[in-house]
Symmetry: C2
Subunit: 143 residues, 2 copies
DNA sequence: AAATATTTATTAGTATACTAACAATATATT
DNA sequence: AATATATTGTTAGTATACTAATAAATATTT
């Protein structure tokens, strides 16, 4: 039987979902403080992946960065408008829009990646190196 | 000096920020699968905290749930429209709007909390109980 | 008491993040 | 070849989540 005590022991601050939201907020702050070119974390991820993949479809880019099809459209639109990427039609598949980094986009993301290392480092700073490894290992398991 | 290899070893999938986004997505899916009353995680947090605090200002409620002032307004508006909370003016401080759970809201959140336990459990399921404790401990440290 | 600063709530604007419905194209099946 | 299925991209709608500017009320300082 459920006692009064049991009923009241739901501590919001101990729940993984709530904790993740707090950490996301802290990470977003650290991110914004480091990144000069005012990229969002999502835009950063998309540019990193685009550098790694080379020219690819909007759809694939979204899948590789875990950005859904409706969201990737706006992200690509804004990065395009700012001159970091360009788009062109795929001749072999008329459904597709191909996307690639511009020279400027490449320069921006190469700089940003170096800042990205610092962002990760600062986010994990409260933990020892050994603890950081364990944390990342466990986080990957619940992905 | 930075070698070619060093330059290319930025693995997006190993970064805390990217991992958190993936886990948030998985958690949101688990959350939506369990919660009947179609609450969002944010709405859930707000109702849990409101139950715990009792009547309080919109501003305090936002601070206690880490929802900023601009966002809490919409959250409160929607919960109000659905009849889960009611608002009334604070006589002692005319700036404030006080908020409290309705009977319906209390019933909804009491049910939802039981589901919340299962949501946390399922999110952490890939880890052993001992690993879960360590993960939460480390996550709290980087909050 | 008057001036200053802080707190609370609102509004407008931007950027994710998702669902659902849709159209166009490509692929697989019969 | 014709039909059915799957993929790609777009659009509309909802809900966070944030910044910055504003207004009203309260608290603090002088």
């Amino acid at each position: 039987m459920m006692t009064e005590e049991n009923k009241n022991d739901y501590i919001l601050e101990d729940q993984i979902g709530f904790l993740m939201r707090l950490i996301n907020q802290r990470h977003a702050n650290i991110f914004a403080a480091h990144i000069n070119e005012s990229l969002t974390p999502t835009q950063f991820s998309v540019l990193v992946k685009l550098k790694q993949l080379g020219a690819c479809s909007q759809n694939l880019l979204g899948r590789k960065t875990a950005v859904d099809v409706a969201t990737i459209k706006g992200v690509v639109e804004r990065l395009n408008k700012r001159g970091y990427i360009r788009t062109f039609p795929d001749i072999k598949d008329k459904r597709r829009i191909l996307i690639e980094l511009t020279e400027q986009g490449l320069a921006v993301i190469e700089d940003a990646i170096e800042l990205g290392r610092k962002i990760t480092e600062e986010t994990l700073k409260p933990l020892k190196k050994s603890e950081q490894k364990i944390l990342l290992k466990y986080l990957k398991k619940i992905t």
